[in-house]
């Protein structure tokens, strides 16, 4: 099947404006601005079943419909902060199919009445930001961005804004704070960005992959999009496959593809032909799926099916763990990541990740007792439901599921 998002794999040079145009580029945006009302655009996206690809899976069209039309101006912010260990999909889109992403930003902006959009890239994407700046300038020169587009009274500017190394800025309200020139610390929600966002104005924040779906949904219709994937998870998804597989990489596949197909058909199987011991379907934030039965690998990857395994599909950053890996080592890694990235604003996360890291270190280094493992589980569970944003919650997922589903790994390393 031809790619819908990673189209550069089928169409060489699609990063060039002429090539993108020749392949239908900007027609959906032009058609929307000249022939459709903003709410009609939102309606198509709503009917397509598109859900947010950043991890939360919130219905995109519904989010757009929440924009507060009593308060102006409006903004669109594209979340290109991609920082979850295990995900590297947005990067490939922006590097290789940049116009489709930018057209998605433009269509979203038109749909919610924004005349300015910001693309927030993690600071490490310095070169990608410079590349997008060039592409934005090309669109301006060709009349796809700027004032009075296509002879209408609609105007749009897109700007890039670089972060500077903070995972938390991928959380939408922390991202808005960061664009405002503050420390990237999440806001208390509600109010949510569609009513109180950038500079206190109604704002829609969408992930890069989400927005990149939009031009083709508008071009081909909601029914076309819904014909792919499953009933609750429409369309295609880029699965970032990493860990102990032979061929890690991005694979664009319909929702409902099984773990087995991803790992064995596309990923070439497990390194050294070992057995899959666990899967983290949503990067380091993920619960650990126990693969004690081969049948687990036949689970379709869609939001609802993955939930039956006690995990969330999230951003579909599939990390494969083989039977050489011990979970005490693994959670020590993930907890140190979250401890480093905790923004410090709320106590449960700031202190919880700190104390968890002491415990995971002690356990991994063989200095702990069984009681320390119980204490770690207790600290993690105490944190759950009490943190200001999802980061704190995420930090506990691998800890709790690691201990509950792989207790034998911990029994092996603790002192009697």
């Amino acid at each position: 099947m031809a790619h819908i998002l990673l189209r550069h794999r089928d169409i060489p040079d699609i990063h060039k404006l002429e090539v993108y145009k020749k392949n239908g580029g900007f027609a959906a945006f032009q058609n929307a601005v000249t022939r459709m009302k903003p709410n009609e655009v939102t309606e198509v996206v709503k009917n397509s079943g598109l859900r947010g690809r950043g991890g939360a899976g919130f219905p995109t069209g519904m989010k757009w419909s929440f924009i507060d039309n009593k308060n102006w101006p409006h903004y669109v912010v594209a979340n290109a902060d991609e920082s979850e260990p295990g995900t590297f999909k947005d990067r490939e889109i922006m590097e290789s199919n940049p116009f489709q992403f930018l057209e998605g930003v433009a269509i979203a902006s038109y749909a919610v009445g924004a005349n300015a959009a910001y693309v927030y890239l993690r600071g490490e994407f310095w070169q990608i930001a410079a590349f997008l700046d060039e592409k934005i300038a090309e669109m301006e020169a060709a009349g796809y961005l700027g004032k009075n587009l296509f002879g209408t009274d609609y105007s749009l500017k897109i700007y890039t804004h670089l972060g500077a190394g903070a995972y938390i800025c991928g959380e939408e309200t922390a991202m808005l704070e960061s664009i405002e020139g503050k420390r990237g610390q999440p806001r208390v929600r509600p109010p949510f960005p569609p009513s109180y966002g950038l500079y206190g104005k109604p704002t829609i924040v969408n992930n890069v992959e989400t927005l990149t779906n939009v031009p083709l949904i508008l071009a081909n219709g909601a029914e076309w999009y819904k014909s792919m994937g499953t009933a609750d998870s429409a369309g295609v998804k880029i699965f970032s496959l990493s860990g102990r597989v032979r061929k890690p990489g991005n694979y664009e596949l319909p929702f409902g593809t099984t773990f087995r197909e991803l790992i064995y058909t596309y990923g070439g199987g497990v390194q050294d032909s070992r057995k899959v011991k666990a899967i983290m379907p949503a990067g380091a934030s993920s619960s650990l799926i126990l693969v004690d039965d081969e049948k687990v690998l036949d689970t379709p990857m869609d939001y609802a099916s993955v939930r039956t395994l006690g995990a969330d599909l999230g951003s579909a950053s599939v990390i494969v763990i083989d039977d050489t890996v011990s979970m005490d080592w693994l959670i020590n890694k993930t907890v140190h990541f979250f401890r480093h990235e905790s923004c410090g604003k709320c106590t449960p996360c700031r202190e919880g990740t700190y104390w968890m890291s002491h415990l995971t270190e002690r356990i991994h280094e063989g200095r702990a007792t069984r009681a320390d493992v119980d204490l770690l589980l207790n600290v993690a569970k105490q944190m759950q439901g009490k943190c200001l944003c999802a980061l704190g919650e995420f930090s506990t997922m691998a800890v709790v599921t690691g201990i509950e589903r792989f207790r034998q790994d911990f029994d092996k390393v603790v002192k009697a």
Binding site: G165, K182, F337
Partner: protein
Amino acid sequence: MSLAEKYPKEVKQILAKYPPEHKRSAVMPLLYLAQREEGYITKAAMQDIARMLDISETDVASIVGFYTLYHDKKEGKYRMQVCTDLPCALRGADEFLDNLCANLGIKVGETTPDGVITLEAVMCLAACDKAPVFQTQGPDGIKYHENMTVDKTMELIEALRKSSA
């Protein structure tokens, strides 16, 4: 010399990105500009930016302290930042970093005696399929180096040393 005198064109471009009543938004790009030449941000540069944006020096310092890509101390000309997070570690990142340390004769966080390389371990760089991976942060911005080996890295370091001599 102030940033506006030194980089008039860049400062103007940066300020134009944000609504004039929200010029504080320019603090992050201005900090990158201030860091460009020396690899760190001086107290004088923070004062300069604070004045330009009508915010306090403490506000600027809190941004520098919060984000890991801003530095307030002089280190090596290039910061070599190796990702050792879970997906990279599953593909040998920890061993790669250990071997690199042994080859360079320095520990993580230290700088080579010639002042060219500071070696650091960092969090995820969104290149999990291309581990071992690191970025170099230097006067010419941030660059990715993917699917690296210690040999390839030592060659790169030699080239950076030559260009710095």
